[in-house]
Symmetry: C2
Subunit: 335 residues, 2 copies
Amino acid sequence: MSTADEAEGSGEDRFIARYFRPLARNPGAFGLIDDAAILTPPAGHDVVLTADAIVGDVHFFRDDPGDAVARKALRVNLSDLAAKGAEPAGFLLSLALPEATGETWIAAFAQGLGDDAERYGCPLLGGDSVRTGGPAMISIAAFGLVPHGAMVARSGARAGDVVMVSGTIGDAALGLLLRRQPERTPAWAYDPAMRAHLAARYLVPEPRNAIAAALRTHASAAMDVSDGLVGDLAKLCRASSLAADIAAPHVPLSGAARQALAADPGLMETMLTGGDDYEVLCTVAPERVASFQAAAAAAQVTVAALGTMRDGQGAHFRDADDKPMRFAKGAYSHF
Amino acid sequence: MSTADEAEGSGEDRFIARYFRPLARNPGAFGLIDDAAILTPPAGHDVVLTADAIVGDVHFFRDDPGDAVARKALRVNLSDLAAKGAEPAGFLLSLALPEATGETWIAAFAQGLGDDAERYGCPLLGGDSVRTGGPAMISIAAFGLVPHGAMVARSGARAGDVVMVSGTIGDAALGLLLRRQPERTPAWAYDPAMRAHLAARYLVPEPRNAIAAALRTHASAAMDVSDGLVGDLAKLCRASSLAADIAAPHVPLSGAARQALAADPGLMETMLTGGDDYEVLCTVAPERVASFQAAAAAAQVTVAALGTMRDGQGAHFRDADDKPMRFAKGAYSHF
């Protein structure tokens, strides 16, 4: 009787049904046929909420594969949940794509998103999709659960706490450097295996959700390192009204990053301020450091001690000669 | 000792502190200094989650004032919460702005957002801000609360239920028509007051959060009308595995829309399929219609009966002569 009674619905409905409905198997997602989703936190739990968007030409390259872009979009949010000690519970996706986006790219995007949703136990619950005249933008709001009052805040550090960080710092910043000048390989990047490691660390982060429980148990404050270690530690200092003293040689580096640094010591600043690490920066009372390291190791994540918190303000880095370091750029900022 | 110890932090921090921190007074927002926010649902409640993005040149005009854009971005999400019978609890904002965006526009945006957050009791809890090389995009994830199991789904309609809609339909679609051709005023739009009414209805929706409780009590199914009454009712029919029979003359119209229709009867299709209404479409058991209308009236919202649900499929509209209507376009779709 009308054109609105066809079983398939609109083009947008078909697009969602084809690529995203298969990902929305959580009962709270209602198979994406409703306006909204439902999250029912277990009694005595808080919902931890975070939202991060990534934009083409700003946070990723236009020729990045769809599955890598999807993974990055979800993982930058998972990284926030990890740093707060929260267990992932689900996410909403707002997907803005240019008209010219091919089906192959979208299919790869959905595949990568679904794989990571499964891997991290963070189901797609809903969202929307729109067209844009600009670059692709993927905005995700992710939800985690913590026992009531157990979220690890930025503001909880105490004087005397040990400053610790997961994994290694600086790989993604070096990977981005290489990506920005594909036509020439700098002298410090002669080794193809090293280049591949750094490129991969920029393309798709490895969020540290495996140590969420260890952070809840042991950390006094935590945040994820997304805008560079120097600037992000300064934020933690401000939130906790304390200062931090850091020995730069204690900052954990990958083999690839150490190779690069040996060839060009000037890269240290890029590594400490470059961002995109998606590691967890946290503070731990001295008597808990060993237990925290053991719990992290059990989750197959290394955590290293960099320095200590004290009264005062600012993040103070010293080099191998115990000289204060100065940085031209504290942290990556979009403004 | 380093450049990272200044009290103000990065440019992005200053931007957020200046315009958005004053809006984030809810304790769960931590003054926007943390990576994440907290929502603690009261015992026995579900969290209703929804996300909708609006994009410049697609959902609003580049020269729309910042406060109107902010209100629209929040209200399209509030409208989803209203239709689900949920009470607003807060939202996350992902704001992507072009480099050229002026401070005046941003200040107006923050003002409009803060006013509506206050008005609808839906506080800013967190989010992020990024630059984009494309048009502005505002992506909001909004959270509501319902008693456990009380969310009003799209799928709950029963045969015999009365199809009802809040407010009036078609105003925003006519407002958009006028906006798209500012250089000439069509014959049906001679009256300046009428043009102003229609333009306002497109620019800033009026979400029906006032009837959320009435919907929880009386509606068997509900959704908001964002993509056009015809297409959205077809979606409700599919979700409920039923058909709907609608008498088009029963669709509630504003005085301005009636004037327009009298001058150009061909506008009926635009009004029924055009979208941007942000009214609530719902189904109500016949014995509850009077109580629902009374509860809605007490909340100062009119609700009108359009037709009935029955076994079958599709949304079937009949005109004043009881003839089946056909529409070239079922619903607005981005794909």
